[in-house]
């Protein structure tokens, strides 16, 4: 992943979000050790203190837990927590934006729903190719 420094989103927030996506995709298992601040620093070409700040966001939310002297590990309820958080915040906000834009353009609810369905189909096909 390339970091985006043009938009206003701080780097450490982008690191936290990237880790969340890794977790959601199942690339990190329950009770497994996650990347250290130094590994993240090297991967993303950022200062390790910035990487640590990203990790700490997830630790504060109980998505990661700390083992003294060993590092950060994935909580069993991590996926659940990330899903809840993203659904209630990120997705909700995106839906609101979509609705506002649709209203502005005079797109009806039925039309909007069919657009969402079409986008879903394209996504499923794409995933099918990737998965196969």
């Amino acid at each position: 992943m390339e970091l985006n420094s043009v938009e206003g989103k701080p780097i450490y927030v982008q690191i936290a979000e990237w880790l969340e996506e890794e977790i959601l995709r199942g690339h990190i298992k329950e009770h497994e050790k996650i990347y250290s601040q130094y590994q993240l620093a090297e991967m993303f070409n950022i200062n390790p203190a910035t990487a640590a700040k990203g990790i700490n966001i997830l630790a504060d939310q109980g998505i990661l837990y700390k083992k003294r002297g060993l590092g950060m590990f994935l909580s069993p309820e991590a996926k659940e927590k990330i899903r809840d958080k993203r659904k209630n915040h990120t997705l909700k906000r995106l839906v609101e934006e979509v609705v506002v834009e649709a209203r502005l353009l005079g797109v009806s609810e039925a039309e909007l729903l069919s657009m969402i369905r079409d986008a879903g189909k394209v996504f499923d096909e794409h995933e099918g190719i990737e998965g196969g």
Partner: protein, 300 residues
């Protein structure tokens, strides 16, 4: 532990006050970016820390000692800039060998590998190198010395974009392997922003800001909307930057913590809220005039 501490540091050259009453500390093993426009006093400050210049007044401590004419500081510190002079009779590889003799932690293998990577000729002479190649060679000396305090003053002068990128990556990777206190000065923040932990903003010889880089992005916020609404809301607040947009709109940059209340009702007041990029903020905080260069031309 603090590697550097300055108390009310002032430096004057004749009647010119290059640094005015600066107080700060820099902790161990942090990468700090010293950012400021031309003539801000960056080089003077770094040379005082390095022990090349003596402060006019105030106290400077590096490794808990006065750095001026100090052998302990000289042995544990390296200062890299584009004015570095080496004996003209020595080849580049002979320069490396003498640096190896002086610096305790010198890593010759790293120096050789960087030499190969950047295609430097060991039999070449320093004064025959192009500007960019000189900077590249100086950078290799600065990294391979692995000094507990490493200072780079405008290190990328003359380097092309590819080499600059490699340099920042090399600096970060070497720092991850061997953490040490590093200061890099630059008038551009955006290139080095990601690898910094702290930023020290200097302008007109005064300290403007010293903060973790991650806080800088949230330090200020920009508002855009109808001029009378903006003027009313931001009355009495410190405005970092202001410009007119179209006929009756304006764009202002203010402190985020002062704006919390405003932000909540910004939508209702018809205001748009934008984040402020860290390097833009640095320019605003150090610029000569609030309206920027436009203020020169907007006479009517």
């Amino acid at each position: 532990m603090d590697v550097i501490s300055c108390q009310e540091l002032t430096k004057t050259f004749g009647r010119v006050r290059a640094l005015n009453n600066i107080t700060f500390t820099i902790g161990q093993n942090r990468i700090t970016g010293l950012i400021g426009p031309n003539g801000a006093g960056k080089t003077t400050l770094l040379k005082i820390i390095a022990g090349f210049l003596r402060a006019s007044s105030g106290e400077v401590r590096v490794f808990s000692e006065d750095p001026f004419n100090n052998l302990k500081v000289a042995a544990n510190m390296i200062f890299i800039d584009d004015q570095m002079r080496f004996p003209t009779s020595l080849t580049l590889s002979e320069i490396l060998a003498s640096a190896a003799a002086f610096y305790e932690n010198w890593d010759m293998e790293l120096a050789r590998r960087l030499f190969d990577y950047f295609s430097l000729d060991p039999e070449q002479y320093h004064h025959k190198l192009s500007k960019g190649m000189k900077s590249t060679f100086n950078m290799i000396i600065g990294l391979a010395a692995r000094c507990p305090l490493t200072i780079f003053d405008e290190p990328t002068t003359g380097m092309d974009a590819g080499v600059r990128k490699d340099y920042y990556r090399a600096l970060l990777r070497d720092y991850l392997q061997k953490p040490r206190t590093i200061i890099i000065s630059s008038h551009l923040l955006n290139e080095i922003e990601d690898i910094l932990e702290d930023i020290f903003l200097l302008s007109g010889g005064e300290k403007r800001l010293q903060t973790p880089v991650s806080d800088l992005k949230e330090f200020a916020v920009a508002l855009r909307g109808r001029r009378e609404v903006i003027d009313k809301l931001t009355a009495g607040q410190e405005i970092y930057y202001q410009k007119s947009v179209g006929k009756d709109h304006s764009y202002v940059v203010i402190r985020r913590d002062a704006a919390e209340g405003l932000l909540k009702k910004a939508g209702r007041d018809g205001l748009e809220v934008f984040p402020v990029k860290a390097d833009d903020l640095c320019v605003y905080l150090t610029s000569r005039k609030r309206g920027g260069i436009d203020s020169v031309f907007d006479r009517y």
